[in-house]
């Protein structure tokens, strides 16, 4: 699960476990969440989710809601801790050989599925085979293609071999483990989606499944036998509320305990005393950035000076202040500031319209006919930015950029299109000049799929058709090493190349703005966001609200 490409339109929630969030976390916290009250079992935790889950086998779903629920029901062999280090989950320990080609897992003993059957290495092998099976409709198959052999040495020991070093070998095994005894025949027949497991899942995780009413709610209860200890919150209810406005009203009425806010709700509408007493607000950069991308097959944008000129013409801080009300961070490349792969020393393009004009003039764009629009060979510099409908944030960004580019003599039109049509008819067919979209990023810096020149096919992700031999080489080197220091060198250089090239103009990382009911304690903001230690969250006995649970 390295590269998480997801449109922000589908609202990014954060996933507990592997795809953690954030780096620097700021909790607007008056100290309440740490004050007094000893850990106690009980209470119900109610979470608002804007979208319904798609299924309960997260290995074959891709929406954030399914992964969030799945993360509580299932476990992987490994997971990310608060500092984003990989630690054991179902695996007690592991060993990676010096040449990075052999990975040996020792599994925890006495782990049981929710139905009482023991969890063994056979389940791991089964999960691996399921992911590879061409009949399994999963998006995560590529993770497992690098594996050349998998041997079960004993019920609690596995050896996995790779043909060449694979940077994400360990991270791959954060994939949720599936129960062989319940799914074998369904996988074999290619009917995994129809398995009862997809409606009433049996996992090993900290919570057991109780109910999923499509479009209404998902209910989980604590698994007292979980190997990391019984979770404090005894019941978790995900309420599916498709309207952001309704979620906000539910928060005001204390009907939900956990939800994400919009920038305006965070800065203006939740600053009154009663709200700040009832909830603790958190803020940290999300794992997604917004960009202005160009079709590099278009000769106008193929010229690097033009893209650099645009970078100078756009004031990123203005976008953050105007659209996100300051709740975001400038992006200088595709990596989040303060993660290990991030390189702060890359060429930057401060807002400088004069320099932008000079660069465009160098590239041959001059206003020959005096109409205020630059032209070259009699053709005025005019193009259309496409973005998806229903995302106000991107529309506003487009409008500000339109204004800024107009100031350097470039005429921009904006067109918003419904998501499915935008992708199929315009992005995949390369019928666009420029786009404003977002990329979600994972915790591993491998972004081969987005930037490598071999990935520019119609169904692939390099839809801007970026091709730079040096970037290609760095992407190949970066994913083929398992030593962080070596990888860091490659990715540092990659970021310099991308900054210099500006294949897209990296605009910003917006902040995730979750709020949690102040009666819930034990939340420790970290570089991995807040959800990573959900099973240690608790409500002191005297403040428990839903005693029936």
């Amino acid at each position: 699960m390295n590269l998480r490409v997801r449109d922000l339109f589908f609202l990014l929630a954060f996933l507990p476990g592997l795809s953690g969030c954030g780096v620097k976390v700021e909790g607007k916290d008056d100290g309440q969440s740490r004050k007094s009250g000893s850990p106690a079992y009980g209470d119900t935790f109610i979470e608002a989710s804007i979208g319904d889950i798609q299924g309960l086998i997260p290995n074959i779903t891709s929406d954030s809601a399914s992964h969030e629920v799945g993360g509580l029901i299932y476990d992987g062999l490994v997971k990310r801790d608060k500092d984003l280090n990989i630690v054991g989950s179902l695996a007690e320990s592991w060993q990676l050989s010096r040449d990075c080609l052999t990975l040996t897992f020792k599994l925890r003993k006495n782990v049981q599925w929710h139905d009482g059957r023991p969890f063994t290495a056979e389940d791991v092998r089964f999960t691996y085979e399921t992911m590879l099976d061409p009949k399994t409709p999963t998006a995560y198959r590529e993770d497992f293609l690098a594996v050349t052999r998998l041997a079960v040495l004993d019920p609690h020991t596995l050896r996995i071999g790779y043909a060449k070093p694979y940077a994400q070998a360990l991270e791959t095994w954060g994939m949720y483990m599936l129960p062989k005894h319940l799914l074998a025949s369904y996988v074999h027949e290619g009917r995994l989606r129809e398995a009862p497991q997809n409606r009433r899942p049996i996992g090993t995780g900290a919570y057991r499944f109780v109910e999923w009413k499509s479009g209404e709610r998902v209910v989980l209860v604590a698994n007292p036998e979980h190997f990391e200890g019984r979770p404090y919150l005894s019941r978790v209810v995900y309420r599916i509320i498709p309207s952001q406005a309704t979620i906000f009203l539910e928060l005001k009425a204390k009907g939900v305990d956990f939800a994400g806010l919009t920038a305006i709700q965070y800065t203006r509408q939740t600053t009154y005393r009663a709200f700040e007493k009832a909830y603790v607000k958190y803020q940290y950069p999300s794992n997604a950035y917004t960009y202005l991308g160009f079709n590099l097959k278009d000769p106008r944008f193929a010229d690097r000076r033009v893209r650099q000129a645009f970078a100078h013409a756009i004031n990123k801080q203005e976008l953050i202040d105007g659209v996100l009300l300051g709740l975001g961070r400038e992006a200088t490349g595709p990596y989040k500031p303060e993660t290990w792969a991030y390189n702060p020393d890359v060429p930057r393009f401060p807002y400088d319209p004069d320099r932008a004009r000079r660069l465009l003039a160098e590239a041959g764009w001059k206003d020959a006919d005096g109409d205020g629009i630059l032209d070259k060979g009699g053709q005025p510099f005019a193009f259309t930015i496409l973005t998806n409908q229903g995302n106000e944030e991107r529309k506003k960004v487009a409008e500000i950029i339109q204004q800024r580019l107009r100031e350097i003599g470039v005429a921009v039109e904006i067109r918003t299109l419904e998501w499915a049509s935008l992708i199929k008819e315009f992005i995949k067919k390369r019928r666009f000049e420029a786009i404003i979209l977002g990329w979600g990023i994972g915790l591993d810096p491998d972004q081969y799929e987005v930037w490598h020149s071999s990935k520019a096919g119609p169904d692939e992700l390099n839809h801007i058709s970026y091709a730079n031999p040096e970037a290609d080489r760095l992407l190949e080197l970066g994913r083929a090493s398992c030593v962080r220091e070596q990888r860091k060198k490659h990715y540092d250089r990659l970021q310099e190349v991308l900054a210099e090239d500006q294949p897209v103009i990296f605009l910003y990382f917006r902040d995730a703005l979750p709020v949690v009911s102040s009666r819930v304690r034990g939340i420790e903001p970290s570089p991995n966001g807040i959800s990573y230690n959900f099973i240690r969250w608790y409500v002191p006995k005297e403040r428990q609200r839903y005693t029936a649970g």
Binding site: D7, Q54, P134, R239, A245, E418, K424, G549
Partner: protein, 330 residues
Amino acid sequence: MIPYALRRVALAIPLLVGITFISFLVIHLAPGEPVELQTGDLGIKSSAQAIESLRKLYGLDQPLYVQYWSWVTRLARLDFGRSFAPDGKPVLQKIGERLPITLFLNIIEMLLILALAVPIGVLSATRQYSVFDKITTVFVFVGFATPDFWLALLLMILFGVQLGWLPISGLRSPTWEFLSFWRQHWDFLSHLVLPIVVATFGGLAGFSRYMRQSMLEVVRQEYVQTARAKGLSEQAVIGKHALRNALLPVVTILGLSLPGLIGGSVIVESVFAIPGMGQLMVQAVFSRDYPVIMGNLVIVSTLTLVANLLADISYGLVDPRIRVGRRGRS
């Protein structure tokens, strides 16, 4: 009578085939592909091969006429297929999960609208241009012009947030299963109060104006004058003689709105987080879940067809001129 009915049924069959054809065509003409095949949501590392194999799984790699044929033949056996969503549920099950609540809400709403619109219409017709008439006219038109979601939010703020009398959204409280039997029902009903009020308020205008109009026409008829001349009380004149006749056109409109009962209102359902048919359809459209969209279209249009058929037949039943006329022409 029976040959007439049979003829109507026979005519309905090509129509039904046409419906399936158009449903299929419309959705396949719309740009875009099932969302799973798109880079947006599932794209994570979906290689070109993965996308290709999904296309194969859904049969989208076949030519359109092959896809249509296999869909229609399955449809003929009442097999609506499975959703493209990762839950892979049968379409009928998906609809079955969503239909009861939508149907329940819409029926209550319809009954309420009738219970309010008929007296309002009658009273404002019999007291035309009176203060009551003017007030109700303003009232129902305000209802007609008020955006659903806006009214919904205002009511939620008042009754849910400020007063705390009613739940804001959803169908059940988070602790529903721990309530006693009667409390469970009360809890469920209290969740429905606001959505029903919002939908009723919006739908009141149409029916009450129809009722008023129809009543105004009827009270000018000669038989009403006759009834008055006989010395009947005003109550009997209006309540018995006029109302019955004035109701006829309203009942016709009511019949036509029956298929709408299973449609569901997208806005009301989204704002109140009610998992009904409206939401199902909208999500299916956004994610290009072809089997669900087409299944839904076919069911709704078939119901319309059946409603029309029943109306046709019952007209024939009550009005001999219709069946004789048809026979004469054919």
